[in-house]
Symmetry: C2
Subunit: 333 residues, 2 copies
C-alpha cells in the first residue's frame, strides 16, 4: 500500500446551481418541501425557471462542493462526475479545476444537458432545491478511474448517487476498488427525502461495512431510523456505523467511533445569507482534518468553521480563502 | 404626444458576466488595464477563462443593468440588445424579464455565441473587464422596435454600442425615432478607453444635440476633453451638453444643466465588495427620479444610493430590494 496521492476523491452528481431569492409563498405555490431536494424533469425545470426570479449561476453538486472545499483548505482532492459537453458543462469543469481539484471525467457527447439545480433561497437563508439530473444520469462504472480511487486516502460518495440508476453501480465499483487498496469509503446521506427513497439500501451499505464513515444531519439520521427522537437514532447509528459525523446546525456536531462520542458547538455566525452547501462544507472541513490525522475534535471544528463560513455567502463554493480562515482559528498550520 | 408607457428604454450590449476574484498580479501578467474594459476575441476569452479562478455567472451588460435597476426601483423599463439562442442567451433573457424589464429582441439563430464579460475582481473591490462581444455584434437597426422607442420617456444608450459596427446605426436610428416622438435621448460614455476609441464621434453626438443627457464619470470626462484637470473638463461639458451627470466615486456626483450645477455627496458604504455596475446603477437611480420629475438633488441622491448599494455585493444586478431601500431613505414614496 503506497502513500495516497489524493486525500479525498469525491464522486457525485456534477451540477450547476441557479440560485434565486424567493418568498415562502413561492415554495408553497409550487408544492416544494422547504429545505429539501426534489428531483424534477426537464419540463418542470422550465416551468420553475420561468417563474423564478433573476438568478446567479454557480457550480455546485454536493460531493463536488466538498472536493472544492478540501482543495481550498489546502488538501489534495479529486472529483468524478458527469456533465454534457455544453456551456454549463464547460462552466462546471472550469470552476472545479480552477479551484485546484483533479477532474477528468469525460463529458457526454450526446444525451441530456448538464444537470442543474434550481435553488430558491428564502428570506431566512434556507435553500430549497429542485434538481434536473440531466447528464449526471449518465455516470457509469466505466467512468470510475480505478487508479484515481486507489490513489485516494478516502473515497467520498454522496447518497444522491442512488438517484441516477447507473450511478449506483459506479458507486459500488468505487467502494470495492477503494477497499481492495485498503483505503476508506465515506458516504453522506445527502437529504432526508433521499434517505426515504433508499432507506433499506443505505442501511445495508452502512451495516455491511461497504461504508466506513457516514456523514448525516439530524433530519437525515431520524429519517434513516424512522424515529422522531434524536438520541434513539444516534444510539442506533453507534451500533451500525464504524465511524460517523452527525451535524445539528446551531446545536453543533458529533463524531461517533469505537472510542465513543466527541461533540463541538457550532461556529459563530453573524448573519445567515444562504444555507446552500452547509453540509458539503462541513464534510470538507472534517475530511481535511481527518486525512491529516488530526484529533476528532479538531476535525469537527474545521467542519463547523467551513460550514459556518459558507452560509454567510451565496452558493456552496467558498469565496473566502478557507485555509487563511483555518489558520486564523489556529486549526491548520 | 401621448403619455409614455415606459420611463426608460435602454439599448446596449446583451452580456452575461463571469466574475472571479483575482490578485493584482493576475491583471499585470495578462496585460490588463485595471478598472477598464478591454475587447477580446474568442481565443483570448478562452485563454483568460482558462487561467482565471472559479467563477460566478450573473447577467450583465451596462445598459441592461441600468434597465434592471430602474425596474427594481419601481420604474417602467425596457431593453433592446442581442443574444444568440444558446444557454447563456437563455440566462440573459430569463434574468432581465424576471426583473420586470420589457425585453423582446429576437435572439440570433446563427453566428457567434452570446456575449460574455470576464470580470476580475481584485481584493480592493475594483473590477477589470474583458468583453467578448459575440452575438451582441449582430444588433442592427432592424432590431430597433420603433414603437417601443416612441413609448419611452427616455431612450438610454451605452457608449459601448460604438464597438459593434452595425450597432452604431441602431443607436442613431433609435435616437432619431425618439426625437421625432419628442422624447429624450441619454448616453453614457461607458469607459475611458471607449471614449478614447470614439472621442470625435462622442463629441459630435453631444454637441449636435443627438444626445440630451450625458452620463460619465470623472475619468471618462477627462478622457473626452483630453485634460488631467477635472474643472477644465467640467467647464467644457457645461458648454457642450444640454444636461449631464458626472460621478466621482467617493467624492459624490453632480448634475449640470442650464440652471447651473447641483452636487451631492457619495452614499455611505461599509465595505466595497465589487464595483461592477456602480455607474450603471447610478444611472438607474438618477433616471428613476428624473422620469418621475423629481428635483435634480433627489435624482442624484437616488443614483448615489443605488450605486452605493451595488458595490456592496457581487455583480451588477441588485440582490436587495432597491425600492424598499429608497423608501427607507425617504427618496421614493
Amino acid at each position: 500500500m503506497s502513500a495516497p496521492k489524493l486525500d479525498v476523491l469525491a464522486i457525485g452528481n456534477a451540477i450547476v446551481d441557479v440560485l434565486a431569492r424567493a418568498e415562502d409563498d413561492f415554495l408553497a405555490n409550487h408544492g416544494m418541501n422547504k429545505g429539501g431536494m426534489a428531483l424534477i424533469d426537464e419540463s418542470q425545470a422550465e416551468a420553475i425557471y420561468g417563474a423564478m426570479g433573476p438568478g446567479t449561476e454557480i457550480s455546485g453538486g454536493s460531493a463536488a462542493n466538498t472536493a472544492v472545499g478540501i482543495a481550498t483548505l489546502g488538501g489534495r482532492a479529486g472529483f468524478i462526475g458527469k456533465v454534457r459537453e455544453d456551456a454549463l458543462g464547460a462552466v462546471f469543469g472550469h470552476d472545479i479545476r480552477a479551484a485546484g481539484v483533479t477532474y477528468s471525467t469525460p463529458a457526454a457527447q450526446a444525451g441530456a444537458a448538464t444537470a442543474r439545480c434550481l435553488i430558491l433561497v428564502t428570506p431566512d437563508g434556507e435553500r430549497t432545491m429542485n434538481t434536473f439530473l440531466g447528464a449526471a444520469q449518465d455516470l457509469t462504472s466505466t467512468d470510475i478511474d480505478e487508479e484515481l480511487v486507489r490513489s485516494a486516502a478516502v473515497t467520498y460518495l454522496e447518497g444522491y448517487l442512488w438517484d441516477p440508476p447507473a450511478a449506483k453501480e459506479a458507486f459500488l465499483t468505487a467502494a470495492k476498488v477503494a477497499h481492495q487498496a485498503h483505503r476508506k469509503v465515506a458516504l453522506t446521506l445527502s437529504d432526508a427525502f433521499c434517505v426515504d427513497r433508499y432507506r433499506a439500501e443505505f442501511h445495508k451499505l452502512i451495516h455491511s461495512g461497504t461504508v466506513d464513515l457516514v456523514f448525516c444531519n439530524e433530519v437525515e439520521l431520524k429519517s434513516l431510523y424512522e424515529t422522531a427522537d434524536y438520541d434513539t437514532a444516534l444510539d442506533k447509528l453507534k451500533q451500525d456505523a464504524k465511524e460517523a459525523v452527525v451535524t445539528r446546525s446551531e446545536q453543533g456536531a458529533s463524531f461517533i467511533s469505537a472510542e465513543g462520542v466527541v461533540r463541538v458547538p457550532a461556529y459563530p455566525v453573524e448573519r445567515v445569507v444562504d444555507t446552500t452547501g452547509a453540509g458539503d462544507l462541513f464534510a470538507a472541513g472534517f475530511l481535511t482534518g481527518y486525512t491529516k490525522g488530526l484529533e476528532p475534535t479538531d476535525c469537527l471544528h474545521l467542519g463547523a468553521m467551513a460550514a459556518g463560513e459558507i452560509i454567510c455567502q451565496l452558493g456552496a463554493r467558498p469565496q473566502r480563502n478557507l485555509l487563511d480562515l483555518a489558520r486564523e482559528n489556529g486549526l491548520l498550520s
